[in-house]
Symmetry: C3
Subunit: 146 residues, 3 copies
């Protein structure tokens, strides 16, 4: 898989994800399709969420209970309306959304092998909306390889 | 943005950030300037913090309350001097600093578009110092693109 | 370190890590050896763990107390058998393992400088097994550079 130096190239894209409020939204399919369309067989995929109150997450894709329990745990760990927070002008869920984002991730870096992101059997790619209202979220994507 | 394979190149750098103790320090400006100087218009930026008691963070750049509340939340979640900790020889804030680092991130990967890191409107890049004393922190940076 | 565009190339690998149950396992050595064997002197290393109940972690490599305290903190923060969780069919440690994974990371991105990952003096690369039973864990690795 090495040594094909002359064939290296890159491609960029911006994904738009419309959320319907707090929850975990799978984006594996559109990401897979974009990687396939790039015709890059081996390389590196990077996803960067351009927001500070939502996250990118790699988690189990089999049992929806896992996502419900993740949400339940984070709701208890970072309660909406916590009197600790000073930044409350944008709503009781705003500062908790920033904290959840800091506790998780906004970037993902995944090798591409055999024309696909090298996800494990049980891994899916998710956007985790932390705000209660619906939002339009943007994910900057980059792929480099051959 | 794809297919310009023959123009791909890379560049590396090491940033030094002098902190004045626990707090969140913006580093967006020097990172932007270095990306611009590299003349890479599209590609991938990677930042890696070479320490285990501070973090790299992408967070809201508008309201300083957000950073104060983040600090307040993490101080409550991982209290200094927690009797749970065995590793106390380097001070009451040392083990909490390692835990905060594990809960956040030391790497960031951000696509470059239009000669700039593809940050959202409200996103800034920060170094979060978790120790109470001033430290000199080093960030290894890499850019690849065309 | 820039401008050597014609020499850029990439390489991929899959590491296998056999864990003996919950704990933090150092993988710095095999990663270093693979980077060295690639003959890439400067570039970017990416590691992606192909699981949702274990993490990749960069932490202190000097004092084993730090890893014991990290484990102790996470065991208290995300207790096994927490009645909050609905997803319990796979054991009391299964859902806590997913939560710990969400709170930490499954990807690492580290610049390569002088033929080595640009780790700080005290940084090591670890796989954090969150399940109590032994597991075979796979890490997809990618390097690009010159």
């Amino acid at each position: 898989m090495s040594g094909q130096r002359s064939m290296l190239r890159q491609s960029s894209h911006q994904f738009t994800v419309n959320t319907r409020g707090r929850g975990i939204y799978e984006i594996t399919q559109p990401v897979m399709e974009w990687v396939e369309k790039s015709s890059i067989k081996s390389g590196l995929l990077t996803l960067h969420l351009q927001h500070t109150s939502a996250s990118l997450l790699i988690q189990e894709n089999a049992d929806p209970e896992v996502r419900r329990d993740l949400e339940r745990f984070f709701s208890r760990l970072v309660p909406d309306g916590d009197p600790l927070f000073e930044h409350t002008a944008e709503g009781e869920d705003d500062m908790p959304a920033h904290v959840r984002t800091a506790l998780t991730a906004v970037n993902l870096s995944i090798p591409i092998m055999a024309s696909r992101p090298a996800l494990g059997t049980w891994q899916g790619i998710y956007l985790w909306e932390h705000r209660h209202h619906a939002h339009t979220r943007r994910v900057a994507a980059h792929i480099i390889g051959e």
